[in-house]
């Protein structure tokens, strides 16, 4: 079954606040082999003009993928997540994510289309502070393989 296009434009309620910790940033930076002191040392971060240690540029995936759960788990949408692969990813940073941030994420369904037997979902996660400051826009293209109309796959 192809996915219901009526989901385009849908927005999900904000996630509960996620508090960004210094050690979480360090753990993530270690995992992606980013050895920048700006991710680890508050003095180095301040010398670089940041109020506290900042996260590597793809850290927002923790927020965006967590927030996707509301959409991909929505029984009305009926997405078979075991068939989903990540097609594209973009991060637009309005400012770096930093330790001490309390972040909420709102997921928007920007597009749904079917092509060659696959469903393509464009999902935008707007990450902002609890005070309403925009922090990061993370846009993902999720591809559900073989879930669209049967028979038209090349």
């Amino acid at each position: 079954m192809p996915l219901d296009q009526a989901f385009i434009g849908r927005e999900y309620p904000p996630t509960p606040p996620y508090e960004v910790g210094r050690e979480k940033i360090r753990e993530f930076a270690d995992a992606v082999h980013d050895d920048s002191e700006v991710c680890r040392d508050t003095d180095a971060a301040k010398a670089a003009g940041h109020p506290d240690v900042i996260a590597p540029p793809t850290f927002a995936v923790i927020l965006s993928m967590g927030a996707h759960d509301a959409l991909v788990g929505d029984p009305e949408l009926g997405l078979d997540y075991s068939r989903v692969v990540h097609g594209q990813q973009e991060f637009v940073h309005h400012r770096p994510i930093r330790a001490g941030d309390r972040l909420v994420t709102v997921v928007h369904v920007d597009d749904i289309m079917a092509r060659a037997g696959n469903d393509f979902l464009t999902v935008r996660a707007e990450v902002g502070s609890v005070d309403g400051e925009r922090v990061c826009t993370a846009t993902s293209l999720l591809v559900a393989r073989g879930t669209a109309e049967e028979g038209d796959q090349a």
């Binding site: 995992a31 793809t58 973009e90 940073h93």
Partner: protein
């Protein structure tokens, strides 16, 4: 040394980067990111769903490739925008060696807003694993 905007010219190449990726790296990234999809750690599961072997998280590949820009700019906070397409999985064999991702980057444009557009290529086993990868970077 961090380049300044005035020192950068379209066509400049960034210092290339080679990053090894082992199964241990995948386990560590799974824990740090919260992405525990078994295709990134369980060979039985990966082959059952039609993959040749365990593959790296696309987001790990994106992060590793992005380091070419953050190391050049000297500050992870310099990246204003970063986007990639995931074109081919990075297969990570359980042979104690893993694989290597080689990353190159080039200054493609100086944007109107003063950021520098860098195009990035990432290869594993001599094949491109990202498509259309680019970052917009703020330089002092």
């Amino acid at each position: 040394m961090t380049p300044t905007l005035s020192e950068v010219t379209v066509g400049d190449e960034l210092p290339a980067l080679t990053v090894p990726v082992t199964r241990a790296d995948l386990v560590r990234y799974a824990g740090a990111s919260g992405d525990f999809n078994p295709i990134h750690w369980n060979e039985r599961f990966a082959t059952e769903v039609g993959l040749p072997d365990v593959i790296a998280h696309g987001m790990l590949t994106m992060a590793l490739a992005g380091r070419i820009v953050t190391e050049w700019a000297g500050d992870p906070g310099a990246v204003a925008r970063y986007s990639v397409r995931f074109t081919r999985p990075v297969v990570v064999p359980d042979d104690g060696v893993g694989t290597e991702i080689t990353v190159t980057g080039k200054v493609a444009a100086i944007n109107e807003d003063g950021t520098v557009k860098v195009t990035i290529t990432a290869k594993a086993a001599d094949q491109a694993v990202l498509g259309g990868a680019q970052a917009h970077v703020r330089l002092p």
